[in-house]
């Protein structure tokens, strides 16, 4: 079955959301959570799949996320007919009443971090009820010392909690390149533990000075990421519910928006076609 395909909604791609290649949309919670907003964030579109993407659940923090934040996420999901909410495998703060770092960092991959993460994911799932929760692998600039690999850590969170996986293909590509691991092996290992899967695709750039691939969501999806996407679709088969393309800077023109999402759909349809 072909997964639902769409963009993470930005004002710049709103004019093209009725493209025939699009039947899904991702809402970034922090953009939709405008207290003055009167209309639904997805407006009048009737997508097959809508998902809300959050930034501050901070599931690897020692404390569970606040009920207020979880309820606000759920409210936006219900208002927009979303069937799922996702957030990142990382921490953005030390705990309730503490400080916010401004962006998520990977946790130390340890048993203690795993226990806290699983407990928090379970708290989120309980609070969300029938709104499904997916956890995304992040691109990182650094790693804390730990006792297991990221793939093992993520696999165990998925297996222990039953939450879905947002396979951010570009993040796996970036981390593989930057930290010298095999992106395919990572996907293979984690896919085994994932019950349901969404995917993210985006493009960044190679920073010559830092000698690092930066996941900036500012460029077209690179060919290497498309290759990994094909690989993951083959591997995930019927597990993949939706694929979202993210773009936050250096926005393309109309043709660019439409061509990229059509290519993403063509690849998904080909992967789902009978051999």
């Amino acid at each position: 079955m072909t997964p639902a395909i769409g963009y993470a909604i930005r004002e710049q791609n709103r004019p093209y959301l009725d493209d025939p290649a699009i039947n899904a949309a991702e809402i970034t919670f922090e953009r939709a959570d405008d207290p003055l907003r009167v209309d639904r964030y997805v407006a009048d579109h009737d997508f097959d799949v809508v998902s809300v993407h959050a930034l501050k659940l901070s599931v690897a923090s020692p404390d569970p996320p606040s009920r207020k934040y979880m309820d606000a996420l759920r409210a936006i999901a219900l208002e927009n007919g979303a069937e799922s909410v996702s957030d990142h495998l990382g921490f953005t703060r030390d705990g309730e009443g503490g400080v916010e770092m401004g962006h998520f960092a990977p946790p130390p991959y340890t048993e203690a971090a795993l226990a806290c993460t699983c407990r928090n994911v379970e708290a989120v799932r309980r609070r969300f009820g029938d709104v499904r929760f997916y956890l995304e692998n992040i691109a990182y600039l650094f790693r804390f010392d730990g006792t297991m690999s990221e793939a093992e850590f993520l696999s165990r969170v998925l297996a222990n909690t039953g939450c879905g996986w947002v396979l951010d293909v570009t993040n796996v590509y970036a981390n593989g390149l930057n930290f010298g691991y095999d992106a395919r092996e990572f996907i293979e290992q984690v896919m085994e533990s994932a019950d349901r899967v969404q995917m993210h695709l985006a493009g960044g750039f190679w920073d010559e000075k830092a000698e690092f691939y930066i996941d900036s969501h500012s460029h077209p999806i690179p060919e290497e990421v498309f290759d990994l996407y094909r690989f993951a679709l083959d591997l995930g088969r019927d597990k993949v519910d939706a694929v979202f393309v993210e773009r936050d800077q250096e926005f393309p023109d109309e043709n660019g928006w439409r061509e990229e999402i059509r290519r993403v759909r063509r690849i998904a349809e080909k992967a789902g076609a009978p051999a």
Partner: protein
Amino acid sequence: MSPSASTIDDYRAQLRRCAQALAAARPDALAGDVHGAGDAARLKMFTDGNCEKRFEKLQDQLEVLADFADDLDDLLEAYIRAVPLAAYDTGARDGLRFLDWLENRRPLSSEECDACAVLRGRGRVEELAERERLRHVRFQEALSAAEVLLDEWGTNDELRLIVNPIHDWETFRTRAFLEEDDPLPARVAFFPVGNDIRTAVLEPEAEALLRRLAASGPSRLDELARRGAWEREEIAATARDLIETGLAALQ
């Protein structure tokens, strides 16, 4: 086997140390916690990137203050160094916290005070709309229909006037944000129309009607006329002005 309580406590302490160092842009404090020299060097990329994003958000949010505070960028840098983001802080709340910090940092000119009043007025309207979301949405629906109903206002006795539930007041002491003919000091109403926050300096009759309506709830024209000392026509005209401004609607 689950980790022991003391292992979890150690994790809590580790994350507190890490988050506080990264939030305060002190990446050197964590050099020993990460894999190798490359990762340690990139801790600074992480904190630099976060500070830059926070700076840009604050600049964007505090734009009205920039016209009067030449040293705003320096102040923002000092603020970011001194005050870490609080858990769940959004751009808007961070900006309002900056104003509190600024007032304790140096004396403000009268124009700067008015700019702070603009920002605080907007902030309170947003907070109110967040708390009273359903009432906000219902009023805006009524407001969008008010243009049609306005033709019947004064003749259809069933129509009731309702006040925009999301409004607040500030006092401006300079003309920095006022028209030439506005009084000084001026009481300024802040309220949303759709997704925008608008401001208005009201005539005394309009402000009085707004307050009366806020206290009494939805009211028909004859009820308002009975309760007040004004003529029905005067109330009808004042109400019409409030509707056109976005501070009242009909249902």
